[in-house]
Symmetry: C2
Subunit: 301 residues, 2 copies
Amino acid sequence: MKLSILGCNSATPLENSHTTSQVLEVKNHLFLIDCGEGTQIQLRNQKINFSRIKHIFISHLHGDHFYGLVGLISTFRLLGRTSDLNVYGPKGIKEIITLQLKLANSWTNYNLFFHELESKTSHIIFEDDDILVSTIPLEHRVYTNGFLFREKTGKRPLNFQKIKDFKIKSYDFQNLKQGKDLITEQGKIIKNESLTLEPHPIKTYAFCSDTSYNESIVPLIEFVDLLYHEATFLDSHANLAKKTKHSTARQAAKIAKLSNVKRLILGHFSSRYKDKSQFITEAKSVFDKVELASDGKIIHL
Amino acid sequence: MKLSILGCNSATPLENSHTTSQVLEVKNHLFLIDCGEGTQIQLRNQKINFSRIKHIFISHLHGDHFYGLVGLISTFRLLGRTSDLNVYGPKGIKEIITLQLKLANSWTNYNLFFHELESKTSHIIFEDDDILVSTIPLEHRVYTNGFLFREKTGKRPLNFQKIKDFKIKSYDFQNLKQGKDLITEQGKIIKNESLTLEPHPIKTYAFCSDTSYNESIVPLIEFVDLLYHEATFLDSHANLAKKTKHSTARQAAKIAKLSNVKRLILGHFSSRYKDKSQFITEAKSVFDKVELASDGKIIHL
């Protein structure tokens, strides 16, 4: 898994600080998570081959999380995209995008599928052989979901050390890769497990923005390898966090600790704080494995 | 008049090349003309005090000319704006913006007035003591207007050289500034013209993007001090210009020549051309006083 932060400022973009957007690269997928204004420029800045994006996940319909979507959809058309595009987001997102395309007398020359979300309980919204994506219902001023990305148990890699003792044909390789046992020319059955290695451990990533302090997400994100949790405010503005349904750095750290996550990354900072190091100090008093998001930051898992 | 180019790329923003947006500063106004994605960031980059913007003119509803509008409107709210904001643009613009604000459970804490345009003939859309703004109907794939900004004849400045020969009271100054004659203590009438200077010459600016080659705009923009005309293509792609209802550099220059404008600035370049100097070469063969727009360019008139 490779996570690229395109922007993590709250509310409004500044000169060198974009609003929320991330790209998660996992098992040949390039997932776009939220799409604040200017995301397409950030994708170019970071040399991301964004024609590979086939699935876009939008947490909620506040502008700093989706105002860049319609521009990206238009640019895909201009670049001659033909492959399908799937957008997962709150009910209403289809109306917003299609109204703008309609009034521009515009269209897409690719299939654009909207998967509108309304449920307030966690459910799977995307699944293939390699990965599962499910919602993490959050508590904010409008209907909001975080997203959990979970690799499936990988296939067992071949153990060439062991295989070389046998006479193996090319279709045997295919069978072994698919988990089948080997049948030798003499009709002897060699168990798959004895000719393959343990699969790579699965990785998990949870994206949680925007939300008030909400312990009900803990069972959904327990033990994830990486948790992105919003920290719009510091504890000194806890009242403001409560009022606007956002979190403080301390609250984000508390959620990380309760969830036993391996690593926490904070983002969605309010522009009022010039010195972002205070977020680290405050969070570390609760949970040690914490770092700050920033435009252009890349995290390998 | 001071014109600041925030962006002049066609279709889609690139790393260092934003889509159409301009700020015209004239007589204490800061007019925003078109508002492509990322305009609010460009306003910050160029240190423009954008809370002073009270009138926004949108030429048409293609994304590269207005996708930044909803973000700017939201940011105005976040910055605590209280003064009225007026948006002039094609019918439909109100629905697009209000739908997005509604689905975000959002609002503006200032008055937001939409002036939706439908007329296909030129008409005045804004007027005060100092300035007139009227539409320039253009020919494009969707309903599109250019905009003509015309200073009104200025007041005659006082001629202190002449005034010092008279005993003048403070209300006399006011009367003279307002164009009234002076009546001396002896009851003698001194003509206003003999105590004041010629007013500053008026300035005019015409913004024409996007449009196919269209001579019908010539009477509307004749003799303007500055014409911004789109030049999406070079003549080598004249067929493409015709098909997409855009102009070539040569066509823009021809319009400038027919209109006897003082100065021409070209913009809205297609990204296919790496070497922009070709636009100048092509246009100069028809009209000499031509220059290219670029992000951050400032023109004083």
